[in-house]
Symmetry: C2
Subunit: 253 residues, 2 copies
DNA sequence: CCAAAAGTGTTCATAATACACCCATGC
DNA sequence: GCATGGGTGTATTATGAACACTTTTGG
């Protein structure tokens, strides 16, 4: 926090008498779009089934009210992520703030939305306070737009609570736009310290929703990451089927 | 707003009894970084001198509290912009939401920051409620970082209230990153319906803080805007000094 | 030997950059 | 005619995409 230059006695008195009820205040929530890749390399999102009103039994992205004075909004988002998935220290970035009138039927609720990128094995999903269920859903598209599937369950945009469909769509768009010039994709690797070019390519393919050419992907990877020192070549290989693949390690910051 | 599927009687009762005081609520403000170009084609920002505590007599970006229930945050931002500059219908986009603990000494204040791009002649600057003065400042840089100058007045980062220096710096960075692939620059033209390539080039140069090559700028302009139909050639010219320049018109959306 | 996946090399189209030079106006 | 800014053309290099081909493993 920025340091202030000598608050005067006058100012101190003002602050002590400041009436916190002077303005009509909204509630503020931190809501999180949690992305991961499933074993079939499909983009998944964590949704919870709401246990309470409003939108009881509708699916929603996890989130919760900011406890004003106790935590920053970033901390509120991190707390919600921890509550729902038992993880800490993952990619968690602010997406956008939603504050239309009537987006929550109770009262004015400003939602500060975040995007989290998490490798699936780190997720320990548990339904939080207000949630009956919490599940991962694959993101697919059909004529009517985006859909979310998990086994027999199919969720459409209109099945989602509040304006969460809009939030999710913005999160996907942002993720797609960022992937070519930001390091976001590395956060979805099973292991950032030991991965192959093909693994990283599959993440890019999932996010962009199209196949990529491996030789070309390799070329740009070597140019943009290895040559610049952001990624180091471990000089080791790993084999499964076919020719053993070279292993790389992503260096944070 | 999304339509909800048949709120049950049970849900209606819940909503009627909902206690709005259940959670500790923060205050929410909409604060605006207003950019314009002065007659010397320098990037300017509107700052106000705070008339009340906290940070009395410090310079700040204009903004004000969201009147929850009466307006959306976007509307609050538009209202603040109108109050301070008497303008409507200009570029106004959400930038980022700032919600660190202690960023406002009174109480928890979440600030939803916006960026406005306005041609200077549209600005009718007036000091609002809480402001003693409102003035445009040229944005410059020196060893200690960003500074704001207007005649003899020089404002440094530490002269700004709250975390407004951080907000302004983020706004500049975002503006710079967007200018190559978004149409933002057109909003700073004196007249979007009638402008020359050189006028647009000067805006790009100001924002990027470096000179550009006119032949190359023209080429990309013709390729990205004229050929795509986003801008039309008016087939007219305007002369001042040197060869008369061809006039273009930007088509909104 | 064969399938499968990794890795190399070549070609082509497009884009960014630098810069030499010509054009139309006012004075 | 000459200074001034507008406008054209060309060469160089970087980037993105398509694709043919080779290499190394497991079975």
């Amino acid at each position: 926090m920025k340091k202030r230059n000598n608050p005067s006695k006058e100012e101190k008195e003002f602050l002590e008498q400041y009436d916190v009820t002077k303005f009509e205040r909204p509630s503020v929530t931190a809501d999180i779009v949690i992305f991961t890749l499933d074993d079939a390399d499909e983009l998944n999102i964590l949704l919870i089934k709401r246990g309470g009103f409003p939108y009881k039994d509708c699916w929603a992205i996890p989130g919760g009210f900011l406890e004003a004075g106790k935590e920053s909004i970033d901390e509120a988002a991190a707390r919600e992520l921890r509550t729902e998935t038992n993880i800490d220290d993952v990619y968690l970035k602010q997406l956008y703030t939603f504050g239309d009138l009537g987006r929550d039927p109770r009262t004015t609720v400003i939602s500060v939305a975040y995007t989290a990128l998490v490798p699936k094995h780190k997720l320990d999903i548990k339904a939080g306070d207000d949630a009956k269920e919490a599940k991962l859903f694959a993101i697919k598209y059909d004529v009517n737009g985006i859909i979310f599937t998990n086994g027999n369950t199919v969720i459409t945009e209109s099945d989602l609570a509040f304006d969460h469909a809009e939030i999710i769509k913005m999160a996907i768009t942002r993720l797609r736009n960022r992937i070519d010039y930001e390091d976001d994709a590395f956060n979805l690797l099973k292991n950032k310290e030991k991965f192959t070019i093909s693994e990283l390519k599959r993440i890019h393919e999932t996010i962009k929703n199209r196949t990529l050419d491996l030789p070309n992907f390799r070329k740009t990877f070597l140019r943009d990451y290895v040559s610049t020192g952001k990624v180091i070549d471990l000089n080791k290989t790993e084999s499964s089927k076919g020719k053993p693949a070279r292993l790389y390690k992503y260096l944070e910051r």
